[in-house]
């Protein structure tokens, strides 16, 4: 047996050991001992991922599976699909996760549930690594849901805060909405090909076994999952709220890894999408639009983490856009570089929050001299994000913009290039407001640099953010991203026009931000007044949340209440109505009674009782109604069955 699958098992399952230890003994061990095993296990995982990557890149990868369920009609294998894609992703996830574990020791200092936090982080790492290396849709889906669950647990980690617990539930429900489509897509493919395995499904697609309509439907349904997970329009609303979680969580889950799962999934199963050009076009439009809208919203955010959150949504839109224009390699390349510089930015923002005690950039200012390491690493991350050469973001973004130009759809080109400009602008807006000038509050006045356990990860990530793009220059290095898959022979060429345009846009974005926020040539307040209507729309986030809260959620509640009411009130009402009719009938009967027996008193008492019974809640008398409904049901079911026939 080859060493590769063993390494993969170590990489994936080491964090599970950490999870178990931290879950059961975390409380007893206390701080900081509770973090030792989880961090060490994550370190083992990160270390093992490097020879794994080397092994796979040197051609020892492949499909390693064992039979899990075999029952005739359904046979499901479990195992690892270790090709260049998954190996690069595994290494990225493991290394970033390790650095963030390390950082968390400092960040979570003093938290009462210190051990529990590391348990969840480890569980997340385990699930994410499982998602990345999955060899079939079943495994993918299981880990897909598990990372969702971890995200839910970690967003709501500080559940004493109502906003945090609400955000957790919002994230869970929103992504599950997308998962409905995802599940249907998986089942549709399963129905069409009889298999859950990637390779068998690819084979069927390649062989033209599935008609164009069905394959488009399947691709679009799968894309629904990506929309939810990777926070694309119209399900982007959960990601900014997810920032209620601890900052390391935002860095790991909501920037570097989990939110990229949608992108990764599409890249992973790209042969399916490739066979459905219509679906790809939809993907491109959604991605491009998301990139632009999110970038515009980021312009007006005043919470540093929300700036980064919208930036993440925007960058994910870029990746989705790259997939849509048929360049999964570029999407994947951007995914990896983004993982480094965005986690760097988040950890940097965490360091700022740690130092000043606020998330509002207006309450910061003048941090640069007090927090030197944080400052320069943050600027490196911002430059990488803006796409300034020779940092990592430049290469991957250029690759995307080149493909978009080649694709040639006007709206996508507008989205792509305008977003590049806006990205540079909003990042440097945030930097100038928070780091430059004078301290504006006491918190900013007394800001202090974070401990080494937090700054060392920043430095390491900054190095990666600078260098990760240079793989571009390594002969054959870019091929590392092109995967085992035979479908992805991407001929690489440099699109000089796009490259030049993107650099010019990035630099002008920075320049405009400098004019407004550093040199203050233009009065910020004046500017805001002029653009107030636009700013209002942006601050309301294009009203997505308002629409959801105002219409969908109450609508749904109303709907289920209606059904509840149907059971209680409508049927009750029908029965009451008939009771009323009975009373009418009985009135005639009552005259009869009057002549013979007791008379009016009896009648009145009876009417009162009958009406009283009508107002009484569901009590003993109602069992007759149950039985009537049983009879109605029996007749109705027979008739309904006849109608269906």
């Amino acid at each position: 047996m080859s060493i590769i699958p063993i390494l993969a098992v170590i990489v994936q399952f080491a964090p599970l050991v950490g999870f178990a230890v931290a879950l059961f003994w975390g409380k007893r061990m206390g701080e900081p001992r509770a973090s030792f095993v989880p961090v060490a296990m994550m370190g083992v995982s990160a270390l093992a991922s490097i020879p794994l990557l080397a092994g796979v890149l040197s051609g020892h990868g492949g499909l390693f599976t064992v039979e899990w369920i075999n029952s005739g009609a359904i046979s499901i294998n479990i195992g690892y699909m270790l090709d260049n894609y998954s190996a690069v992703m595994t290494a990225t996830v493991a290394i970033v996760a390790f650095l963030i574990h390390l950082y968390s020791i400092g960040y979570m200092h003093g938290d009462p549930r210190f051990g529990r936090f590391f348990a969840y982080l480890n569980l997340f790492a385990f699930s994410m690594l499982g998602l990345v290396t999955a060899s079939n849709f079943m495994q993918l889906f299981i880990f897909w849901e598990l990372v969702g669950l971890c995200s839910y647990l970690l967003i709501g980690f500080w559940y004493e805060k109502k906003s945090a617990s609400d955000a957790g539930i919002k994230a869970f429900i929103t992504t599950r909405t997308g998962d409905v489509g995802f599940m249907l897509g998986i089942f549709l493919l399963f129905a069409l090909t009889g298999s859950m395995d990637y390779d068998k499904i690819f084979h069927a697609v390649e062989g033209g076994a599935i008609g164009p309509t069905l394959i488009t439907a399947a691709a679009l349904l799968l894309f629904c999952g990506a929309i939810g997970k990777s926070a694309q329009i119209p399900l982007q609303v959960w990601l900014p709220d997810a920032m209620e979680g601890p900052t390391p969580v935002s860095a790991l889950i909501h920037a570097a890894t989990m939110v990229c799962a949608g992108v990764y999934m599409i890249a992973r199963v790209f042969p399916i999408f490739e066979a459905a050009p219509t679906a790809l076009f939809v993907v491109a439009i959604v991605g491009g639009t998301t990139a632009l809208l999110a970038a515009t919203i980021a312009l007006v955010q005043i919470d540093i983490k929300r700036v980064l959150a919208y930036s993440t949504v925007s960058q994910l839109g870029y990746m989705i856009l790259a997939l849509g224009v048929g360049n999964p390699v570029a999407a994947f390349f951007h995914l990896v570089t983004h993982a480094f510089f965005k986690s760097l930015l988040f950890l940097g923002s965490g360091s700022m929050i740690h130092g000043t005690g606020t998330q509002d950039i207006r309450e910061m200012g003048g941090l640069a001299p007090k927090m030197k390491t944080t400052t320069w690493t943050f600027v490196v991350g911002a430059l990488a994000l803006a796409g300034v050469p020779p940092l990592a973001g430049f290469f991957s973004k250029d690759e995307i913009l080149g493909s978009v130009s080649d694709y040639g759809h006007w709206w996508l080109i507008v989205c792509g290039f305008l977003t590049a400009l806006l990205t540079a602008f909003y990042m440097f807006r945030a930097i100038y407001i928070s780091y430059a000038g004078k301290p504006r509050t006491a918190g900013a006045e007394h800001a202090h640099e974070s401990p080494p356990v937090m700054t060392i990860p920043l430095i390491v990530l900054a190095v990666f953010s600078v260098t990760a793009g240079w793989i571009f220059f390594v002969p054959g290095g870019f091929g590392a991203f092109s995967g085992l898959s035979v479908f992805l022979h991407h001929e690489h060429g440099i699109n000089v026009g796009a490259m030049g345009a993107s650099v010019i846009l990035a630099l002008s974005g920075i320049f405009i931000a400098t004019i407004i926020y550093l040199w203050k040539w233009v009065d910020n307040e004046q500017l805001y007044k002029i653009f107030r209507p636009v700013a209002f729309v942006l601050e309301r986030k294009y009203f997505f949340d308002d629409v959801y809260h105002g219409l969908l959620v109450p609508g749904f509640v109303l709907f289920s209440r209606f059904w509840g009411a149907f059971d209680l009130w409508v049927i009750d009402g029908i029965v009451n109505l008939s009771a009323f009719m009975t009373v009418l009938v009985s009135r005639f009967e009552g005259w009869f009674d009057l002549a013979i027996v007791d008379g009016v008193v009896n009648l009145l008492g009876w009417i009162t009782r009958t009406f009283g019974a009508g107002f009484r809640k569901l009590q003993t008398g109602y069992v007759q109604e149950y039985i009537i409904i049983l009879g109605v049901g029996a007749v109705a079911v027979i008739l309904a069955a006849l109608a269906i026939l």
Binding site: A579, E589, T610, G614, Q624, E625, I628, V632
Partner: protein, 168 residues
């Protein structure tokens, strides 16, 4: 034997049955309703005899009339003042109940008219009691035993639920 005698007998019995069943529903004196129930059960037994099921008819009289209906009457008489109490004839569920009953009757009529032309031919037998006895102790011996368990369980359950409070 002329079939018309059977026909007349059937319709007479059926009319009596419907009348006494209505009596159970509509009479406002519980005791009178109970008597009407006995009449209904008797006419039901007569219908069984017309169908040639003497054994079932006998059982009907013995168990339903002899045991259950009499028990009901005793309960009515022994309960203070309940015999004088006027019972209300209408419940709030009257009309829906009638509607459902009507729907079921329509469906039943459809079925019984559809039943002609197939099915099995009823087998005539001289010795109904003997045949039933044999069937109960051969083909249906297991259900018979299960019924005995059922009765035991029901008895225990009834006693547990109805017993007096234990003093501790």
């Amino acid at each position: 034997m002329g079939g018309w005698i059977y026909t007349i007998a059937f319709y007479v019995c059926a009319a009596l049955l419907v009348a006494s069943a209505l009596g159970v529903l509509l009479l406002r004196n519980l005791f009178h309703a109970g008597l009407s129930l006995i009449a209904a059960l008797f006419t039901m037994a007569a219908l069984f005899i017309l169908l040639g099921a003497e054994f079932v008819a006998g059982i009907q009289v013995l168990i339903y009339v002899g045991a259950i209906a009499v028990l009901i009457l005793f309960a009515v008489m022994l309960t203070q003042r309940i015999a004088e109490e006027k019972v209300k004839r209408y419940t709030r569920a009257l009309l829906p109940g009638l509607a459902v009953a009507l729907a079921l009757v329509i469906v039943m009529i459809l079925v019984t008219t559809g039943l002609t032309g197939y099915g099995f031919t009823p087998f005539a037998t001289e010795d109904t009691v003997g045949d039933i006895g044999k069937a109960l102790l051969s083909t249906y011996v297991l259900p018979l035993e299960v019924i005995s368990l059922l009765l035991l369980g029901a008895l225990v359950g009834a006693i547990v639920l109805a017993r007096k409070e234990e003093e501790k």
